[in-house]
């Protein structure tokens, strides 16, 4: 890790809002893979923070989508990604009605950046940080034109799981952790921008598909495959595309962290 701790300090926060910060090392500025890695790390930060804050999966997903959509519109060099991530978490809590307190978000993030450190004092630094989180939230809202509620694959996946489950012998099903695996895959796919590139149904089907494949679960085949039934417009190529994107993320983990 290249020490995000140094990047997020109260002094830094001030010129976070200045667009057009061009002071990062010039050699990799245009390198998309570098950006992807940064996004991966920031999303990992969102995920970890989400777990520590006790967020449910859907708000975490919303936070990630907010983040990706934001950086779809602006350059990563213009804004401090971790601050944006914190604001995304805060905003996602509001959108998905799991209200989080800025204080908790700041506390957890602070500890994430400076592991093992004592909690922040409630002094000026803290309040500055809090102000910038709130300011950044407004910025995100404006950048996204207040389109901040998204459809997620989560409820599709759960319904699909139930439907598929009744196709399988119940003992075979209870032995196989398909539900856990598909849920884990679904959560993991928010590490990358793939979560906004594919439609929710496709992601849900692909994660379920991969989970079933991982355990070699065989489903009966009729005129149509099960995934064709669940979503009319999905093709095998779509599923493969999602899966390859997802597997890339797992490869990235090894490279990034």
């Amino acid at each position: 890790m290249e020490g995000p701790s140094s990047r997020l300090s109260a002094s830094q926060v001030k010129h976070v809002k200045l667009p057009g910060r061009r002071d990062s090392s010039g050699d990799s500025e245009t390198d998309p893979s570098r950006n992807m890695k940064t996004h991966f790390r920031v999303c990992r930060f969102i995920m970890e923070t989400g777990v520590k804050l006790g967020m449910r999966s859907v708000p975490v997903a919303t936070a990630c989508v907010l983040y990706h959509r934001f950086f779809e519109r602006v350059s990563i060099h213009a804004y401090e990604p971790y601050l944006v991530a914190m604001s995304c978490i805060y905003l996602a809590g509001k959108v998905e009605e799991q209200h989080l307190r800025t204080r908790d978000i700041i506390n957890v993030s602070h500890r994430y950046f400076n592991s093992g450190s004592a909690p922040l004092e409630c002094d000026k630094e803290f309040w500055d940080l809090r102000d910038s989180v709130v300011q950044c939230e407004l910025l995100i809202l404006r950048q996204l034109n207040f389109h901040i509620s998204f459809e997620h694959p989560h409820k599709y996946l759960l319904h699909y799981l139930l439907s598929v489950k009744s196709l399988v012998n119940r003992h075979a099903w209870s032995r196989t952790p398909v539900a856990e695996t598909s849920w884990a895959l679904l959560r993991d796919c928010y590490h990358g921008a793939m979560c906004i590139r594919h439609t929710p149904q496709h992601i849900a089907i692909a994660t379920l598909y991969l989970a079933l494949k991982s355990y070699g679960v065989e489903l009966p085949v009729g005129e149509k495959e099960w995934w064709q039934v669940l979503c009319e417009d999905v093709t095998k190529a779509d599923i493969d595309a999602v899966i390859s994107d997802l597997l890339q993320l797992y490869d990235m983990e090894a490279k990034c962290i």
Partner: protein
């Protein structure tokens, strides 16, 4: 690693996966343990090329995927879907309906997967003497499959019908074509025979509440009706139905289903190595950090507070302590500091509470212990001055239990035990003397009983008087009974006494008002029991408790306001003997009510002077309201909210009640008729009430008198309405009215509970 799962996976993916696994999991001892076993596995389909990327993924993540702890979902009992209107998630038709799986495959799958205890719905197609046959329509629990076109038939033996009694044939209750919900009892997979049962015992324990037997068309499972629709209409695709389901739009559908599926959303699974749940440390979680932060923040405040305190700025210090406690409730340091401040300021009881709280969360806090010890001794001395020796002694003992070497406490305890022994000796002597005096007389127990009886009688008398006349007399009677023993009044305690008196006053009033009501409606047993309890609780007024100060200070404390209240209460008692529930309300609300009352009376006056019609209407309303009032006065007493909302009505009706009283007074003599009339009057609509009341005027002269009196009074009200409101005229109510009231009360008492003597 789960060997069976791994085998299943290898059988599916073939040897290439095994090779990759061997490559990726070389360092995993778990895999090495099972590897030799796995290479013997048979590979079913090596020919179909599966995605190498997927295999790579499986191989890499095998340690997570096949770890036994990965499976968090416990084998849940298949709860049966809620068929109620509330559909927590989208209940979808079985998938194979859309997949168009072949008939043979579905049929064999069905026989493979159907189990004892599953619930099916079928239609009777044949009734024989040994049972009936069902054509299965759909599944209703357990398995969820599309079976309507599978031509499954099931036998329900006559033994499996619940016996309905000793008499006729149980099969007589069934007809061909009936829809039956039944539990699968047995499946013969080779002969393809299914037997079902209607006995509740054949259900699995998780679905015991399901009723077996004949059902109506409406009771068919939701997914069945949806699949029928989907089968009929090809535009009804899975996605379309899903979107149209009520449960799909349930905002908490994800949480609900996660719980159903058995996935924890607070410790979510992840395939990412960095997000494995064992990597999360407890102290990194938000709640833990917040707690730590709050504690340190609070401590900062306490430090500031102590600083203030040292400079003598006690108010600021208190503010800081309170702030600290707001930030971190039960912060030990803050509690101790605040307690010390309280003790310094003389609020010893508050100080003790703070110290105790501090010790509760930190039992070994040295300062807290020390301070508590000191304050307890201090408090004990206070109590000693008030001659509460026993309590004081207890406090000293407690102080010693905290710190047994505290010299002050030891000293105080010694003194107090001496004093107590002395007083006990004195008392004993006095008692002995007395006993000598009255050797032949009754024993002390008998004496006590006698006193109690006496008191009871007094009270009864009082009650009667309070129910019939104004409460001020009842008050004075109490005062006469209790004030005899209350001549000790020290200036020092005056403030406290006042407070106590206030409380006692309130209580007393409440009791007396309750009694007055009781005397009217004390019918139910429970009520009487309540009252007995109350009487017990009410009786003895020991010399130095609140009851004694009741009458001495009451007037002083409340002053003019109290007088007002007395007046008002008098009125309300005069007017509505049963509306006593109002009296319980605290002063503020009573005054508020009084204000409203005035307004009401003003408006009433207007309406009265203008038309008698309006008054009749309001009388009708008032009566109805009043009756209701009496009926549920018990519950009403508790729910003051309700009370408040109704008070307006009952107030406006208060004036009218005397007429009603008179009617019920008449009913003492013409009981049945009166009741009939009352009933009819409730039934009548408002405009009908006018004619009614006119007719009544002819019949009941007493009421006529009453009304005249009322009108008289209202006229007077018009005269002096601005300054006095409606309080004045009640005083000069005709004396015969009071008599009537007395009669009513008397009658109702007799009619109600049996005479209590």
């Amino acid at each position: 690693m789960d060997r069976d799962l791994l085998k299943q996976c290898l059988r599916y993916h073939g040897e290439s996966l095994f090779n990759k696994l061997k490559c990726e999991q070389t360092e995993n001892p778990d895999f090495q343990a099972v590897a030799s076993d796995l290479c013997k596995a048979t590979y079913e389909r090596g020919e179909e090329q599966s995605n190498p990327l997927v295999e790579q993924f499986i191989a890499r993540k095998a340690d997570i995927l096949f770890c036994p702890s990965w499976k968090t979902a416990t084998a849940q009992e298949d709860e049966h879907e809620e068929e109620e209107a509330a559909e927590p998630y989208a209940i979808m038709p079985p998938l194979e309906l859309f997949m168009e799986v072949s008939y043979e495959e579905r049929r064999s799958m069905m026989y493979r997967d159907l189990e004892k205890g599953d619930i099916v719905v079928g239609r009777i197609n044949n009734i024989r003497e040994y049972g009936f046959f069902l054509t299965l329509l759909c599944m209703a629990g357990g398995l969820k499959r599309e079976i309507e076109d599978l031509e499954l038939s099931a036998l329900c033996h006559v033994r499996e019908l619940p016996s309905t009694g000793s008499h006729d044939d149980p099969l007589a209750y069934f007809q061909t074509g009936d829809l039956i919900r039944a539990a699968v009892k047995d499946i013969d997979r080779y002969q393809e025979k299914i037997t079902v049962s209607l006995q509740p015992a054949s259900l699995p324990p998780s679905s015991e509440q399901i009723k077996l037997g004949v059902i109506t068309r409406e009771e068919l499972p939701l997914h069945y009706s949806r699949s029928v629709r989907a089968a009929a209409d090809s535009t009804e695709t899975y996605g379309y139905i899903l979107g149209g389901c009520h449960g799909y739009h349930n905002p908490s559908v994800v949480d609900y289903l996660l719980e159903k599926v058995g996935i924890s959303d607070t410790h979510p699974p992840s395939m990412m190595r960095g997000l494995q749940s064992n990597l999360f440390k407890e102290e990194d979680f938000a709640s833990v950090i917040r707690k730590k932060q709050s504690a340190s923040w609070a401590l900062k405040c306490v430090r500031a507070g102590v600083d203030h305190f040292k400079h003598g700025r006690h108010v600021e210090a208190m503010n800081e302590y309170n702030k600290a406690l707001e930030i971190d409730t039960n912060n030990v340091e803050a509690l101790v500091a605040r307690g010390a401040l309280y003790a310094n300021k003389g609020s010893i009881v508050k100080a003790i509470t703070d110290f105790e709280l501090a010790l509760e969360s930190c039992p070994d806090h040295r300062n807290a212990k020390k301070y508590l010890c000191q304050t307890l001794v201090e408090r004990g001395k206070q109590l000693e001055e008030q001659e509460k020796l026993v309590t004081a002694e207890g406090l000293y003992r407690r102080a010693l239990s905290l710190d047994d070497s505290n010299p002050e406490a030891q000293e105080a305890l010694r003194k107090i035990t001496d004093a107590m022994q002395k007083s006990i000796r004195l008392r004993e002597e006095a008692l002995a003397k007395e006993q000598d005096k009255a050797k032949s007389g009754p024993t002390s127990a008998e004496k006590l009983r006698k006193i109690l009886k006496e008191e009871k009688r007094m009270k009864k008398k009082r009650r009667r008087s309070s129910s019939s006349s104004s409460s001020s007399t009842s008050r004075s009677s109490t005062s006469s009974s209790s004030s005899s023993s209350s001549r000790r009044k020290s200036k020092k305690k005056k403030k406290k006494q006042k407070r106590k008196a206030e409380r006692a006053n309130k209580r007393h009033r409440r009791i007396s008002s309750r009694e007055s009501r009781r005397s009217e409606e004390g019918k139910s047993k429970k009520d009487r029991k309540d009252k007995d309890e109350e009487e017990l609780e009410w009786y003895p007024a020991p010399p130095n408790t609140s009851a004694t100060f009741l009458n001495q200070t009451g007037g002083l404390v409340f002053g003019a306001r109290d007088e007002e209240e007395v007046e008002e209460r008098k009125i309300s008692q005069l007017y509505s003997l049963s509306a006593a529930s109002e009296e319980e309300d605290d002063h503020s609300s009573r005054r508020e009510r009084k204000g409203r009352d005035r307004e009401d009376s003003r408006t009433r006056k207007n309406s009265q002077s203008r038309s008698t019609e309006g008054r009749d209407m309001s009388r009708e309303r008032g009566r109805e309201d009043n009756r209701k009032d009496r009926r549920d006065s018990d519950s009403k007493r508790r729910s003051s909210l309700d009370d408040k909302s109704k008070r307006r009505l009952s107030c406006s009706s208060a004036e009218l009640e005397n007429s009603q009283k008179s009617a019920s007074g008449n009913s003492a003599y013409k009981h049945p008729e009166a009741r009939m009339r009352r009933n009819s009057s409730t039934r009548n609509s408002l405009d009908g009430g006018r004619i009614e009341s006119r007719g009544r005027q002819d019949f009941h002269k007493v009421e006529e008198v009453m009304r005249r009196a009322e009108e008289e009074r209202s006229n007077k009200n018009v005269g002096n309405h601005n300054e006095e409101g409606d309080t004045r005229p009640k005083k000069d109510l005709p004396a015969n009215l009071l008599n009537i009231f007395n009669q009513i009360a008397q009658f109702e008492k007799e009619k109600g509970g049996q005479p209590k003597k």
